[in-house]
């Protein structure tokens, strides 16, 4: 229903009120009825949609006597020519201020569906069918097709079935034969619908069993209308008085404060939720690790390059170009730009030589090193690519090599099959120490110190293999939370074939270890599926409610 408020916009066929010739007493007359469009028909517009005037009307009505009651807002609205919804609205706005009191009413009544209305005028389908069957007077009946042609497919479908059910007709060969005559039968359905329609939908106009049948045939609908009966409320007054919400200076000055009515404070409302930022659990753990590593004297490496050349990611680390990890299966190669622009040329030559024929005590890999392969761009598969660049810088800095400790915690990308514990993107924590004459003992010592700080004190080491470290060790720790031994990291000493081309002095050795960020986070926060932690399937509520991350460190460290 389209409602136009005020008299301005109306159906064009009806002259607007303002073009009616004025009379002297025009303003005493009731304004001419305005029309609105309802279902494309002009319908008389309900009087005055101004809420406050409805409120006044209600209050005035209730002023008649102390026991005055609007027994049903619906009938009241009809009588007063008001929009029922607006009446309800007004009642509801008077309610909190306790001007009125209400009790709920709900009335059910029946309405006819489109089909029901059709039957009301034409008669039930089964009667139409029977009439058609008897039309030619022979009593022989009709075939299906003839019947369909006479009454229409829809009527035939419903009517024929009911006809047979009521035993008004039967099947005779391929024809449908009428048994009864029109005079012998009663159109029960039409009668019932008429009763309902006449009583304006009263639910008791017809037996409830009949109603059920009609509902099943989708001829009537049950509609419930909510309305209220309204009486005076404890704060009733014939006219609404606006309550003040605040005490103002003017009120104090003028003395109005003595007589003004004030709104009650509602102490039961909850405060408005203040939004705030929340750190993702991964970042919480990352912050802890960063703190720990900096306490141990490590420098953070600049890892803000996610795209690396194969040269830095693989070749400079002495990983052969034919290594399976360099397949498209495991690495994400960049489509555009596909190749890097430049690498330090002299260093490149030394790396190439090392791969092809060896040197510095190594026999090398002995294959043909390809420049195009080295220049391919990719999303880095480990932060060791950055470590490599840092070591190169360290070897060639002003003043020569000086011992240094580096760390980084950042994102890496691997084209892996995804499952509950693996994603394509994850975060690596990496630490490395470059110094003279380092040994495995130093590596074990450093690793122990680090893990002690996050509460894992029992460690065991197992031989492992990495293309760029030799010796390599897998780190296993007894996890206090899980109460079992689990793999917690990987470590090793960088191969001389990797360090020599960089120009590091011969007895400088680099020890390194790494772990993923996701694993400790998942253990700490008891998350079993990595997709609940990282990615588009993360539950934001979890980020909001994730507890502060604190690692209990072993007492003495």
């Amino acid at each position: 229903m389209i409602t136009f408020f005020g008299c301005c916009c109306c159906c064009s066929a009806i002259p607007p009120a303002c073009s009616i010739p004025r009379h002297h007493h025009h303003h005493h007359q009731a304004p001419l009825a305005t029309y609105v469009l309802q279902n494309n028909q002009p319908v008389r517009h309900k009087k005055d949609s101004n809420m406050s005037s409805i409120e006044d009307a209600i209050l005035t009505f209730l002023s008649k006597s102390e026991d005055a009651i609007i027994s049903d807002t619906y009938t009241y609205a009809e009588e007063q020519n008001m929009n029922h919804d607006l009446v309800i609205g007004s009642v509801k706005s008077l309610l909190p201020d306790e001007y009125v009191a209400t009790s709920d009413l709900s009335t059910s009544f029946l309405t006819l569906t489109k089909e029901g209305t059709e039957i009301l005028s034409n008669g039930a389908q089964e009667v139409l069918v029977l009439a058609a069957l008897l039309e030619d007077g022979s009593g022989e009946g009709l075939s299906m097709q003839e019947l369909q042609a006479k009454v229409g497919k829809g009527v035939c479908k419903i009517g024929m079935g009911n006809c047979m059910k009521n035993k008004w007709a039967k099947k005779g060969g391929d024809k449908i034969v009428p048994i009864k005559k029109l005079e012998e039968i009663k159109d029960e359905v039409q009668i019932a619908l008429k009763s309902i329609s006449d009583s304006e939908g009263k639910t008791d106009s017809v037996d409830s069993k009949v109603i059920a049948v009609l509902k099943r045939r989708k001829l009537v609908n049950s509609v419930t209308r909510k309305s209220y009966s309204v009486t005076r409320g404890p704060q009733y007054a014939p006219k609404r008085v606006k309550k003040a919400a605040d005490l103002t200076k003017e009120m104090l000055d003028s003395g109005a404060w003595e007589t003004t009515q004030f709104k009650n404070y509602n102490f039961l409302t909850l405060g408005e939720k203040v939004g705030g930022g929340y750190l993702h659990p991964l970042l919480k753990v990352r912050a802890e690790f960063r703190k720990i590593l900096m306490q141990m004297g490590f420098h953070e490496m600049p890892t803000n390059k996610w795209v690396e050349s194969s040269f830095w990611n693989f070749d400079s680390l002495f990983q052969p170009q034919s290594h399976p990890a360099r397949d498209a299966h495991d690495t994400f190669f960049i489509k555009d730009p596909a190749s890097t622009v430049s690498v330090p040329e002299q260093y490149y030559e030394r790396v190439k030589t090392m791969h092809e024929i060896g040197g510095s005590g190594s026999i090398g890999y002995r294959y043909d090193f390809k420049r195009e392969e080295a220049f391919k761009n990719l999303l880095r598969t480990h932060t060791t690519a950055v470590s490599s660049q840092m070591l190169y810088k360290l070897a060639n800095q002003e003043g020569g090599f000086k011992p240094q400790k580096y760390f980084s915690i950042d994102r890496v990308f691997r084209n892996e099959t995804m499952d509950a514990t693996h994603l394509c993107e994850f975060h690596q924590v990496e630490g490395l120490v470059a110094d003279y004459d380092l040994s495995l003992g130093d590596l074990i010592g450093t690793i122990e110190t680090f893990f002690q700080k996050i509460g894992i004190t029992q460690l065991r080491f197992k031989p492992a293999f990495n293309p760029y470290t030799e010796p390599s060790m897998e780190i296993f720790g007894y996890h206090p939370d899980l109460n079992q031994w689990t793999e917690i990291g990987n470590s090793g000493m960088f191969r001389p074939e990797m360090l020599a081309p960089m120009g590091l002095p011969e007895n400088v050795r680099v020890i390194a270890w790494g772990l993923s960020l996701e694993r400790p986070t998942m253990i700490k926060y008891r998350i079993s599926n990595i997709r609940d932690l990282f990615g588009h399937k993360v539950d934001m509520a979890r980020t909001r409610t994730a507890p502060v991350c604190r690692f209990e460190s072993a007492a003495s460290v």
């Binding site: 953070e300 490496m301 005590g361 090398g364 040994s439 495995l440 003992g441 130093d442 010592g445 031989p463």
Partner: protein, 329 residues
């Protein structure tokens, strides 16, 4: 460690580690056969290495193990046959009157009955199409891409010009081996000669224990027609690798005397000798240990044999001051 890919290699390594036996010494006997490599192979798959295992006695388990190792190596170091591929043949079934030939011929000139089939395919390209489309042989489909578009396909032929194999796809049916085969001819074609040698060495080293004379491998002379180069394969010589005692101890954080070091390394199949003058240990790296590239590999083996969990830890003495990246603060 490709030698650990099969049960034979694993048991050998463990037994040596537990000092139940010594590292076997492989003997390569004089070649009785030759293989000539035609110039056209340069265009598609240039290198080939061969060997013969005489008087082999397989049982069901060892035969399966032999096939399994080939599969694993194919998948692994051979990079799914793209770099290297192996073929094994029953020597008694092929004609040995003249040298074997490794050639690259046009597909329409290649005709043979492939393994597990009964039909003779007169055009190799048709055979590849068969492998590409028929579901019963779909496991071979991925390898067809390696040669499909080439003008010439690599083939190994016996003296009667019969096709013994079409690397890297399939061998022929007539020369196929079975559990009862006594003399095995192994040919390995490749685009990377170094890797081909590693694969050949691994294969024969692991299975020569079943030969008539254990650990004896019969060589084959390979002659490259285009350049005249002649290679006798396999080369199963051990190579020396030296490492100073100081270095070995420094890496592992231990302080072992040279005798102890040699004893430990022997357990890892790296037996060696100590030279007092230069204070170095020189180990003899067997052909099964293609992973040893540098002294650091020796050092790792020493540390592993000693036991990582027995190493002494040292607290880190490098003094540096921590620092963070400004952007992360």
């Amino acid at each position: 460690r490709y030698d650990l890919l099969c049960i034979e290699g694993l048991t050998m390594a463990l037994q040596v580690f537990q000092q139940q036996r010594e590292t076997p010494k492989f003997v390569v006997t004089e070649p009785k056969h030759r293989l000539v490599v035609k110039a056209d192979t340069e265009r598609i798959r240039p290198f080939v290495v061969c060997a013969v295992l005489r008087g082999v006695k397989f049982d069901k388990h060892s035969y399966n193990s032999f096939l399994d190792l080939q599969d694993k190596l194919h998948f692994n170091i051979c990079r799914r046959r793209s770099l290297v591929s192996m073929g094994t043949h029953d020597l008694s079934k092929v004609d040995q009157t003249a040298p074997f030939v490794y050639d690259a011929r046009r597909p329409e000139d290649i005709s043979f009955v492939p393994l597990a089939q009964t039909k003779e395919y007169t055009n190799a390209r048709e055979l590849l199409d068969f492998y590409r489309t028929d579901p019963s042989v779909k496991h071979l489909k991925e390898y067809t891409d390696l040669i499909y578009d080439s003008e010439v396909y690599p083939v190994i032929l016996d003296s009667k010009d019969r096709v013994m194999s079409l690397p890297p796809i399939i061998n022929s049916d007539f020369s196929k081996i079975s559990q009862d085969t006594r003399d095995i001819f192994i040919e390995i074609t490749a685009v990377d000669e170094n890797k081909a040698n590693i694969v050949l060495n691994t294969l024969v080293a692991m299975f020569s224990c079943y030969c008539e004379t254990p650990y004896h491998v019969e060589a084959v002379e390979v002659e490259y027609e285009a350049t005249g180069r002649k290679v006798v394969t396999p080369n199963m010589n051990s190579r020396p690798m030296s490492a100073s005692v100081r270095y070995l101890n420094a890496i592992s954080g231990l302080d072992l005397n040279p005798d102890k070091i040699c004893a430990i390394l022997t357990k890892m199949m790296l037996s060696g000798t100590y030279d007092e003058k230069s204070d170095t240990v020189t180990v003899s790296v067997p052909p099964t240990r293609s992973d040893v590239l540098h002294a650091c590999d020796v050092a790792e083996d020493m540390a592993i044999a000693y036991g990582y969990n027995n190493l002494e830890k040292r607290p880190l003495t490098t003094i540096t001051v921590g620092r963070q990246q400004p952007i992360n603060q």
